[in-house]
Symmetry: C2
Subunit: 368 residues, 2 copies
């Protein structure tokens, strides 16, 4: 969440700084590691001076610890301290076990952010290290919530075997995303929009309602100076009615990256179609398709439906400091109605900052 | 806005810290100084070690500089540096001129936050000090915007001869303040509500619509461990229809502290009545009544009317991380409608923080 601080080799780091830096470098891999977790690693010497950083850059590539190790000399490894955002893996998967690798080295200590929920790892990475005489320590500090957030997609995937779903909303201060006349334009500032492209890249697929595709004609690609990625686009089109329309999205994205979620398939629709009767079932079908995370970008009907179904794990709200008025405005929750305040949808772990001229907040659904 | 830091006498302060501390102590006077400005003062020695603080505590009481001076020995005054949030006054009003008083003393330097807009002071306080050989410096740093905010009520009063108007809203994340069925309860957390009592105390009067008085039956007093104040209550009751209802407000507040804003006076209404045809005219009548600042606390119709009329200078929004849904919800801008997005109401100088479990934001209307 916070501004990244740049450190150089040799800089003295506190434990918090080392773990924060491990999280910062980890994010570089966020667009590419799925279905693996986002993981970062920072190695310091026994004086707590920075030696190297590493991160899991892409599915199938080196794990964070190995990436960091490759940057260290034998002399540097001796008595070094590793800060890793997630417990080093114990099992041999596509890549070797990180815990076993570290156990062969004269490392002094490993501080890990959270325990791996994978029953193949869960505490076993730690056991391997301790057996080799390496001190281990589970991080217990103010960054704990951020550490869980860093790999929340992986944690939900792994523990619940379900797709992680985030919704991103760009709204006025009074919850309006457009006028009911249909008038709609960028509500938030350019800095917010650049950040949206980064967030998009962290998810396997972007999901948008058919109305929004037709009315706003968005590109929904990832336009970011540092991230090259073409993710999947899911069009929620119950009526299966827009596949022949002239929309940017059909020109910009490769055909195999576009999926239609429909009530009933239509042989004339040239894109892959997934039939659904309700949203929970739809997300289960996405899981079977290999999708592990969704980023919902509107519109009002789509936000309302996913929220009503209790399917939104995290919300990202960009709020411009302007007021549109609910009288002629279109609220992002316009199709969501509760009959008692006791049924309001609660979020927690609120984080907030100013981006450009906008307010940005994110929170996690309380029960998710 | 930010958490106050406690300093002790002798602590070394940076220039920023001294000015921040001057603003922090100034706020203690905020409930009581109207129509004077909120002003704070910090005095440091030539090594920049804290000697004393002072503030304008109440209308008619000592100005901040004099309050600080009274805590200093003759030896301490020698070569001291004053940080004052507002240019020291040049004219003799209810109290003596601060600039003239300081000019008689062996003070080294005076750093002032902003120039006094009062043409009786405007640069003249500085001239008096400089003539006496005291170095003066207008603060130009990151706290400049906060310094203007600290005395924004006074600045608007003085420059425009108009009442300063703030609106405070407690809303869900999607802009709803209740259900349309009438169901309404605390949306935000206890910490937010305590802060509301502090904010209330900074304004001459609280203004609430008649519907809200009847439906929510609020107390609208200032319940804060450190602030004892009974401000005015204005009930916006165009129809002049609620003065005989059984409401807490009529029992809690003294009769002379309650004002009715009505289309037409009614001799049966035992409270003071102010007739109005439009809100701009109403605020002009408030000015004539001696009111210098209003704190609007709802409901939806009242917020919408004041915003439509362009009369809200500052907005305070407490947002709970929960979603109520616009379908059955009552939006705080439900009566506000624009016919083009180009007419949206813009705010700037956005500030944001987390209070308890809520998001708190404040901003200034862009053109005000």
């Amino acid at each position: 969440m916070d501004a990244k601080v740049n450190f150089n080799k040799g800089d003295l780091l506190s434990g918090e700084q080392a773990m924060q830096l491990a999280m910062d470098v980890a994010l570089t891999g966020a667009p590419f590691v799925s279905p693996n977790p986002v993981v970062g690693c920072v190695v310091v010497d026994h004086h707590h001076r920075l030696l190297a950083t590493g991160f899991h850059a892409k599915y199938g590539y080196d794990h964070a610890e190995i990436d960091a190790l490759k940057k260290l000399s034998e002399a540097e490894i001796r008595d070094s301290i590793f800060y890793v955002t997630l417990e080093p893996c114990a099992h041999e998967g596509r890549t070797g076990s990180c815990a076993k690798k570290i156990a062969t080295l004269p490392v002094h200590k490993v501080v890990y952010g959270i325990q791996d929920p994978n029953p193949l790892v869960n505490g076993q990475g730690v056991a391997i290290l301790e057996k080799a005489g390496i001190i281990t320590e589970e991080y217990q500090g103010p960054l704990k919530e951020d550490l869980f957030q860093l790999c929340e997609i992986f944690l939900k995937n792994f523990i619940q075997k379900k797709v992680f779903i985030a919704a991103k909303v760009a709204t006025s201060l009074d919850g309006q995303i457009a006028l009911r006349t249909g008038e709609s334009k960028w509500i938030t500032s350019p800095s917010s929009r650049e950040f949206v492209h980064e967030l998009r890249s962290h998810y396997d697929a972007i999901l948008v309602g058919a109305n929004t595709i037709v009315q706003d004609d968005p590109s929904l690609n990832i336009r970011h100076p540092k991230i090259q990625k073409s993710g999947k686009i899911i069009i929620l089109d119950a009526e299966n009615s827009i596949f022949e329309k002239e929309c940017k999205i059909f020109k910009i994205h490769q055909k195999e990256n576009i999926l239609f979620a429909v009530r009933k398939s239509n042989p004339r629709n040239p894109y892959k179609q997934i039939e659904f009767t309700d949203l929970l079932q739809l997300t289960e079908k996405f899981w079977v398709e290999g999708l592990r995370s969704l980023f919902i970008e509107g519109g009002a009907h789509t936000y309302s439906s996913f929220l009503s179904a209790g399917l939104v794990d995290r919300i990202f709200v960009f709020m411009a400091p302007s007021i549109i008025g609910a009288k002629n405005g279109l609220a992002w929750t316009s199709h969501l109605g509760i009959d008692s305040l006791s049924k309001k949808i609660e979020f927690s772990q609120l984080k907030v900052k100013i981006i450009g001229s906008d307010l940005f907040m994110t929170a996690r659904m309380s029960q998710s």
